[in-house]
Symmetry: C2
Subunit: 313 residues, 2 copies
Amino acid sequence: MITVSRAINTPQQVSPATLEKVNAAIAALGYVPNLMAGALRLSRSHLVTVLVPSVAGSLFAGMLTALTESLDARGYQLMVGQSGYDVPREDALLRAIIGRRPDGIVLTGVMHSPQGRRLLQASGIPVVETWDTTATPIDMLLSVSHEQIGAAVSRYLFEAGKTRLAVLSGDDERAHLRAASYVRAALAMGLPEPVALYLPAPTTHAQGREGLRALRRSGKDIDGVFCTSDLMAAGVLTEAMVQGVDVPGQLAVVGFGDMDIAASMSPSITSVHVDGAAIGAKAAEMIAARAGGQRPAASIVEIGFRIVARESA
Amino acid sequence: MITVSRAINTPQQVSPATLEKVNAAIAALGYVPNLMAGALRLSRSHLVTVLVPSVAGSLFAGMLTALTESLDARGYQLMVGQSGYDVPREDALLRAIIGRRPDGIVLTGVMHSPQGRRLLQASGIPVVETWDTTATPIDMLLSVSHEQIGAAVSRYLFEAGKTRLAVLSGDDERAHLRAASYVRAALAMGLPEPVALYLPAPTTHAQGREGLRALRRSGKDIDGVFCTSDLMAAGVLTEAMVQGVDVPGQLAVVGFGDMDIAASMSPSITSVHVDGAAIGAKAAEMIAARAGGQRPAASIVEIGFRIVARESA
DNA sequence: CTGAAAGCGCTTACAG
DNA sequence: CTGAAAGCGCTTACAG
């Protein structure tokens, strides 16, 4: 066992003859060392956990892919947890995660529950909060300002000559931040108060269609709408086409996420781009640096966003 | 430590007074037991690994969600690996997975590489192959027949009066099976040989648009097309709209996956439904049964499919 | 270059 | 009801 361990980890410390015998035996038996035992011994699990609201959501797909690949390249594996749960459930999930002693934890959004913050802090595991912003991160932060995004979209539509705004928003926390800030910015520019509709996340194409119908039923004469996801924006386009509403002439539409479909629709969809792949890659890098004993260059990194102007607005 | 372990796992074996003291200390310290150590001792990791071609793909989203939730309900956690790799890479990935000693491994597709099969078999870990079919599963199988699907879609289009068929397919293995069988079935019904276009997976809306343009450039007068994903089918609809092609009159379109967007597009998309959620839930159930020492009722389960008829075909 | 020994943090059968 | 001891499968400093 000792020699086997050395043959695998430090083959130069083993004589060629022995090495050959050991390798033959390994191949014959299909032996794969137990990484958990090694992890226990070295207290390095080479495991990283990410918590997403839902694995099915396409918004975080870019981040997940980049995270998986960046970690993989560094010899880490990714565990995925779904955090779209009530608070007591989240506590249990957090305990299950910390119990595995991952070398890092990536959170989608910031952790607000004091109980959760305490658990994470006490664990001593490197934590990266992402996709949101806060003055008091638990540890590291890849910051995205949904308030800035909401305000920027409001301004964008205003500058495109639209004045009667609406927002179709998911009912998750970050979508709420965007929507609220969008409404505030519109009011600050002297526009009438935008109509805000909140729909259960993750938002869908069908909700986009239903959302536009609801807006038109409301009787308000809307000329610009911000959707919480590109799928939803595509749904709005479909409904607009069916109802004979001209986009962007009568109605400008802005999406969020800059998915493939946004560029490829007709009309193509103006959308807010947030670099999810950069978030994933950066998070992997920060955690690997920590595990290697270094302080990362900066523990708070601003991710930023841009509005990709296309035909729909 | 002994008493702490008992306080957590078998509190009825500890006096109320001691229990209270221990719990107070646990809360004060934020102590979370090391599950890896427990796993090593009990050789039950309560970890399940799933290998998907890509985390970003929406086709397996339903399976992943169901798998996460079903496992969670049984006290298991899910690890996710991306298998969209070359063969030597897959070998390394498999070793990294087996090294963690998960209580089960869920594979998307069947494992063909003899090397991979050997490793998995030697590991003794319960394996569930899914989303494909084979006469020689490694262990358990949740079988989906892509050959039957391809033939059924061919027949469906024929019965709808379409005779000049095409297929826009991803270049992954299972999509190839569907496309090849679709072509064979068309020939068997006496139709001219369908045009098959293969595009890099995961397929996108943009590829659907480009695919239809390519089909039209080819000069063949196509009246029915089977797309490897609903997103691609939506892209075909967009391109058809732009080019003024009537769907389904001039061109019938069938998708695959029965995503939300299929029902919600206009025209709505006829699509092949495979119950991914059932695959996820069933896989979790089979693995949990094995870990509990039982043989599962059946180690090969046919999942089946149905064509959901909508406006596009 | 190779082996015996200790220890990572748990759990559990065994005494007390 | 509570504690001392062994052992899960590794890795590594220490002898030989």
